[in-house]
Amino acid sequence: MDIVSLLLEAANLMLTGMVGVFVFLSILILAVKNLARFAGPELTCDTSDRAPSKPSTGVPSDHIAAISAAIAQHRTKK
């Protein structure tokens, strides 16, 4: 086969190939958009009705400081 006809065939392949890739991926775009419609994330991350965070314990902070200082001292003695 001579080069010119091979070139024509290659050009043809280039055209069909690019059209093929674009068509396939465009269909995929539509499919993904539809997927988002029925399987997308629920947009109910409303944080306003969340209960205000409470302090976890009723222990005053200076007590905690004293206890942790005591623990640290005990560990260093060891």
């Binding site: 280039m14 069909t16 093929g20 995929l28 993904v32």
Partner: protein
């Protein structure tokens, strides 16, 4: 005296040919690039060593009966290794950036122009005396532009096995050179202002979407391009294992053990194709040139497509992300992020570039399927 002569005949020294010596030097060069320069070491170490092993005289490692012959025959001739790697890549890929912004698929499609333009270029190279590429050869060479090692090896093993060594080496070398090849093209085709465009934050993606995505891609491939189902199917299997959340053990195995074991043998088998008589030809030189051309055209067409989309779309699109459409995951996306940060230090494009980047993987698998269907 005869015994001594026979012993001499059995030594490497007596049988070493000059071309084989050059190929061993090429193997050592690949090892140097991998070890000292850090270029794709996971592949170039086994490939470089395979190149040395295959050129050892007398031992005949790549002849029927030799280890490398069987590794090649079982793994690459059958197409199994690239597909196993593709499963692992699927298990490593997070599609959320693409699902959140599916238009990025267009960038992955545009960058495949590098493949088809190179196909044309490879045939045009036949005008130069010494080159005789058939349409099959040209297609296998062009897929280097897909910047996807397993896809390139898969297609080359089907269409042009004798060129596989050069194609695989070119594909992996250029993937390692993405940070050098791409930025000048990206800078030349965009203005400072375009490069600093910030893109809106991506939406959250639900688990259900992530699970359904690979199944949907597979169904579309079954319907429209069954020739691409070996690649896309294994890729989707890996991705489904990752996202479904019930087979973490399998997903981890695909991402680590399987991909690692396969990489060792894939590299060796590719290296075994670097025998002097196949590699030291003028065609190899042509393949290296065409591969660089394919990468550059792919990068440029991705950037152009992103520019066009930026003009037409209401949401701003930074043209740089188009360059990530060539796949080469995640290197190309990192390069986009880096070039974007140079223009605007507060603009992190990595997540936005991951969309076209994984779209590029799908795009090159689809392009490979089309080439297989039309040329194979």
């Amino acid at each position: 005296m005869d015994g001594l002569l026979n012993l001499w005949q059995a030594t490497g020294l007596a049988n070493l040919t000059f071309p084989a010596l050059i190929m061993m030097a090429v193997g050592c060069g690949l090892l140097y690039l991998a070890i000292a320069k850090g270029f794709e070491p996971l592949l170039l170490v086994p490939i470089g060593f395979g190149a040395i092993l295959t050129n050892i005289p007398v031992a005949g490692l790549s002849e029927p009966g030799g280890l490398l012959y069987y590794v090649y025959y079982i793994g690459i001739d059958s197409g199994v290794f690239p597909l196993l790697i593709f499963m692992g890549v699927g298990a490593l890929t997070d599609f959320s950036a693409l699902i959140a912004n599916p238009r990025m698929l267009l960038l992955g499609a545009a960058a495949q122009f590098g493949i088809f333009a190179t196909l044309f270029g490879a045939i045009a190279l036949n005008f130069v005396p010494g080159f005789e590429f058939t349409l099959k050869d040209a297609s296998a060479i062009a897929i280097i532009g897909g910047a996807d090692g397993p896809t390139a090896i898969f297609l080359a093993s089907k269409l042009a096995p004798e060129l596989l060594g050069a194609i695989a080496v070119a594909a992996y070398s250029y993937m390692a050179l993405v940070p050098i090849i791409q930025p000048p093209i990206m800078r030349a085709l965009t203005s400072e202002q375009e490069r600093s465009i910030a893109m809106p934050q991506l939406r959250a993606v639900s688990t259900k979407e992530k699970i359904l995505f690979p199944l949907m891609v597979l169904s579309l491939t079954i319907l429209f391009l069954p020739a691409a189902t070996p690649l896309v199917g294994m890729f989707c299997l890996g991705n489904l294992m990752r996202e479904c959340g019930v087979v973490d053990r399998l997903s981890n195995t695909a991402q680590n053990e399987i991909i690692n074991i396969t990489t060792i043998f894939l590299g060796l088998a590719v290296g075994s194709k670097l025998a002097a008589e196949h590699f030291l030809t003028v065609e190899t030189l042509g393949i290296l040139v065409l591969g660089a051309l394919a990468f550059s055209i792919g990068t440029a067409s991705g950037v152009f497509m992103a520019k066009a989309m930026n003009r037409l779309s209401t949401n701003p699109i930074n043209p740089l992300v188009g360059a990530a459409g060539v796949s080469a995951v995640p290197m190309a996306a990192r390069v986009v992020n880096k070039v974007g940060l140079e223009a605007n230090p507060h603009n992190f494009l990595l997540m936005h570039a991951m969309g076209p980047n994984v779209a590029g993987v799908l795009g090159s698998a689809v392009a490979a399927g089309i080439l297989l269907a039309l040329v194979g």
